[in-house]
Amino acid sequence: MTDPLQPPVKKNPQKRTVSPTRPPESRSRAALGLTAAAAEGRFALQCCAECGAVQYPPRDACCACLSVALDWRDVSPKGQLIAETRIRATTSLYFRDRLPWRTGTVQLDVGPSVICHVHGECEKGARVELWNRLDRAGQGVLIAVPEERTPNMQDDPQLRAMTSDPKHRRVLITDGRAPNAPALTKALLAAGAASVFLGEGETWRPYPERTALEALGVEFLPLDVTDTSSVNRMASEYGGKVDILINNARFLRPGGVLARGDTGFARDEIEVNYLGLMRLAQAFGPAMCGRTGDGVNSAVAWVNILAATSLSNSPEMGCFSASQAAARALSQSLRGEFRTSGLRVMNVYVGPTEDDWHQPLPPPKVAPGALARDVVSGLRNGLEDVYCGDVAKDMSLKFARDPKVLERELTMGGET
């Protein structure tokens, strides 16, 4: 059994913070199929569309029949750990800081042998399951874990290095008054978060949930994402203590372009949903990137809660979704900019939520508790892309299948 991870000892300010380092990032284009699957937490391998052979490492042609028709398919992750080692010397700066590092050979039931990371609880010769996770370089890697789940298995140091687990970490939720804030707070605390900070914009307005949330031990902090000096003030005070930032700040009004008489709401949407993200990233990003090697409570993840319609727009929420698409595009830039530090950007795409503004839309809708569950499990699995709710899942499948078809479906007009 894995020993439960102990809370970090108080930081000695005179000691140097460990520099961010990364495992090797270089991959062939074919190998990025593994990364794409890991971003969503799937175990997929290359399968030949002609002869069905499953192969690994990824290739550009089938090693059984030379066909170039290769698909990534979800296959059984089960196998046997047939050899193992603990690496005690390496020229990689990332692994040097983390030695010894356990790796092994797993013979998969579907055929190939795979060199993989090995969870501390796997016994040599035992049946194991492979998980496909993103490492700190943001690349898909395989880790063998025991077939049976055990209580503290998430705390294994090698597995934890591939996740954004909230346990013992400090989380900032940028809009503490959003309808999803109480559920997020409770789920994060239940997952072992050390503390939750809740940003609060218009502090002068009454907030009935405040007392109940404060009773959980969370801290409300003044933070208005439309105000650069407010964001900077918060970052200078708390930037070094935020390990996970969840940006749930959102301005939303329904309607497409012609439903509105002017650009007033659109300005607010851009101000909060797009420029707000940019302000937060400029203020908190550098401090978080500098702390990705900082032990048990290192900075790990930047979470954006986005509308699923940021993938492909429709008139019901047309102007709002455009600002969400802008935020989504910005998150891709941030992924590139955070890349060298290993800070992960997790986008949570949410279908229509159970709140006042989505009242006219038909179900299914996403309840705050469901969103909170998906955020926490996304962090625990180290994901980059989470599709929350049936509408978002449906949309991601259609988007992957054919974005043009999806666009047409969404813009054809309602039920006729």
């Binding site: 090797p24 603990r86 010397a89 390496t90 990689s92 790796t103 060199i115 370089a137």
Partner: protein, 388 residues
């Protein structure tokens, strides 16, 4: 179809440029010194050379082509063999066919690499696509980690112990002490082997080669040419080569030799017990055991027991890696694929000086190369026979 022998073709003028742990020079510099050495040994001028093959990891961005201009050569037969530990035997068999067919009269086979302070690290990071996709992200242990897995599996399946591997390393160190050019100069005891710093369990420090700079070379020519030049030479009795064998095995416990070993001895018309010495590719001792098994000295998994009853030193009953091999003489990149072959030429021509096995006539040389992903892909072997 029965294979044609190598009648009338010989190998001669073995040269080893003394290795250095680190060098500020380039691969070109090391290769030039080895080439010059082998030509001088045969009394040849560069212009008289009409065939050239080179193996090197650190020559980038150049290849054999760039070297012709760099070194002022004008060959009518040119090859570049990127097969790491198998490149010596493979250079030999290709050059021999070229000479036999008349495509070239005199072929120089050269391997050399430099070793700058950071070259091992940068070589690792660009070694192969499969390595960067699927092995180095997993702990970045390099070949040590890969061979740790093979060794672990070998020990489980065949009840081999660390002492069994240690016996190979200790004997080779004994041999290296007779080789003035060996990088390792101090004796190695079994106790020191067993207590060495762990590198990637079960592999410890003395299971690993020392990366260094160096070069090796030899010439292939017709027998009458060697006689005319009064050169001691060896005949090529048989060779084999194989790539990506046993791809379906989940982990490598055997190499391509198993597919071709009968062909090898059939061609040479001899058997394992006729060998006066054996030079295996010894990047790790488990690989030497694999070759001893796959080349017919014992059954699969029998090498630990086979070696327990034998003395692998120069004066022993199973002389093995007589110059200390890579484990004790050093691994100079692709020259590591030549070291055993060049030493074998010296042995069967009785020019090995300190490491000479008395009366050595026949040598088996084996090559193994290129951990493309999880195993060595290339295997090769040759049997040389002295003319005496």
């Amino acid at each position: 179809m029965a294979r044609l022998g190598y009648d009338g073709v010989v190998v001669t003028a073995p040269v080893s440029v003394p290795y250095e742990r680190y060098s500020i020079e380039t691969a070109h510099w090391w290769i030039a010194r080895a080439l010059r050495g082998t030509l001088q040994a045969a009394g040849l001028k560069p212009a008289e050379l009409d065939g050239f093959t080179v193996s090197s990891f650190t020559l980038f961005p150049d290849t054999a082509v760039g070297l012709t201009q760099h070194l002022g050569l004008c060959p009518r037969w040119l090859d570049h063999i990127p097969m790491g530990g198998a490149s010596g035997v493979i250079a030999l068999r290709r050059a021999a066919r070229a000479v036999q067919a008349g495509d070239a009269d005199i072929v120089a086979c050269v391997a050399g690499d430099t070793n700058h302070i950071d070259s091992f690290r940068s070589l690792l990071s660009s070694f192969s696509r499969f390595a960067s996709d699927a092995s180095y992200p997993y702990g970045y242990g390099g070949p040590n980690a890969n061979f740790a897995l093979l060794t672990d599996r070998y020990m489980q399946d065949f009840n081999a112990t660390r002492e069994d591997f240690g016996r190979i390393c200790v004997a080779q160190r004994d041999n290296a002490l007779r080789n003035l050019n060996a990088v390792m100069k101090k004796p190695l005891t079994m106790e020191a082997y067993l207590n060495a710093r762990p590198i990637a369990d079960p592999i410890a420090l003395y299971d690993c080669v020392m990366p260094c700079a160096g070069a090796e070379a030899f010439l292939v020519m017709r027998e009458e040419e060697a006689i005319k030049r009064n050169l001691p030479f060896a005949r090529i009795k048989g060779t084999i080569e194989r790539h990506n064998a046993h791809a379906g095995n989940p982990i490598q416990l055997r190499g391509g030799w198993t597919l071709d070993v009968d062909d090898l001895y059939g061609m040479a018309q001899c058997a394992p017990e006729d060998m006066d010495l054996v030079q295996t590719y010894d990047d790790y001792p488990v690989i030497s055991m694999m070759q001893i098994e796959d080349l017919g000295f014992c059954d699969k998994g029998g090498a630990p027991e086979f070696l327990r009853g034998r003395d692998m030193t120069v004066t022993g009953d199973f002389p093995h890696n007589t110059n200390g091999g890579q484990l004790s003489a050093g691994q100079a990149g692709a020259a590591g694929g030549f070291i055993g072959l060049v030493e074998a030429i010296r042995q069967v021509t009785w020019t090995a000086e300190g490491t000479q096995v008395p009366g050595a006539r026949r040598a088996l040389v084996s090559g193994f190369g290129m951990i493309n992903y999880d195993r060595g892909v290339c295997s090769a072997a040759a049997i040389l026979e002295g003319a005496a």
